[in-house]
């Protein structure tokens, strides 16, 4: 069952990513991104990360994609164009990077496996994550800094998005 779920969500993520990168229509790309992000959320669930899967669906699939679509509607006039020459130029770079990532992954597997760790029964992680956030010896400081960051981003985004004096006139 877990294997089937992995294959299902993995193909969802891969197909979504492929379509996102190569579809000429940017709105279709955005919807492909939804599929890819949902696939990744499903993969989180197969790894027992229930809280993060839900966060992913709420934040990415629900929030960020809507923001992206709004930005597309506010800015893009013509369908995005793709240049073939650029494909030819980038292909070796992308291929090399892909090969590098796969090799690194392969090299890391025995190290992690030697450290132990088998797939145990999964249990809810929300409580543990919450405790880590509120633990002064663990992640409390980063958590508070994150809150400040989000406030700064809110103010900054509003400031940037406001029309300047010259536009308003």
């Amino acid at each position: 069952m877990l294997d089937f779920m992995f294959i299902f969500f993995a193909s969802l993520a891969l197909l979504g990513g492929l379509l996102m990168a190569f579809h000429p229509n940017i709105v279709h790309s955005a919807f492909a991104l939804v599929a890819a992000l949902f696939g990744v959320a499903g993969l989180y669930w197969t790894l027992g990360a229930d809280f993060l899967g839900a966060t992913q669906v709420l934040l990415y699939v629900g929030g960020i994609t809507v923001l992206l679509l709004f930005a597309v509607m506010l800015s893009t006039r013509d369908a995005a164009r793709i240049s073939i020459a650029r494909y030819a130029l980038m292909a070796p770079i992308v291929g090399l990077l892909g090969a590098f990532l796969v090799t690194t992954g392969k090299a890391l597997v025995p190290i992690v496996r030697a450290a132990g760790g088998a797939l145990g029964p999964t249990e809810p992680t929300t409580e543990k994550i919450g405790n880590l956030f509120m633990d002064p010896t663990a992640f409390m400081l980063p958590f508070e800094i994150l809150a400040v960051l989000l406030l700064v981003v809110l103010v900054g985004a509003i400031t940037l998005a406001r029309r300047g004096e010259e536009d308003a006139a």
Partner: protein, 106 residues
């Protein structure tokens, strides 16, 4: 049986797809989508490593998941600002093509 390496291969592949999006597409918003996919691929690797981590005193603390939570929050912040910049760019220069906005390149 699905093992750690499968997740890592998948993470690498998805990351590469995101990189394709970043390098080949010229629309600012699509470049941003590529970045999001790359962040997600990295998150997937983090969670997979966390799942197969060595338990301390018989329990695995979901610290990797906490990292991923931070990544998601910072990515959301990044998207908010970047999209506002894209819209401002379109207002000012009437374009969202990254090749047309190369003033700061060299």
């Amino acid at each position: 049986m699905i093992q750690l390496e499968h997740y890592l291969y998948l993470s690498g592949l998805v990351f590469t797809l995101g990189l394709c999006g970043v390098m080949m597409r010229r629309n600012v918003i699509l470049v941003l989508m590529g970045v999001e996919i790359m962040l997600n691929a990295a998150n997937l690797a983090l969670i997979a490593f966390n799942k197969y981590m060595l338990p301390i005193d018989g329990i695995v603390e979901p610290k990797g998941q906490v990292f991923v939570f931070f990544t998601i929050a910072v990515a959301a912040a990044e998207v908010a600002v970047a999209l506002v910049i894209a819209v401002a760019l379109f207002r000012r220069l009437d374009t969202v093509n990254v090749d047309d906005v190369a003033n700061l390149r060299w």
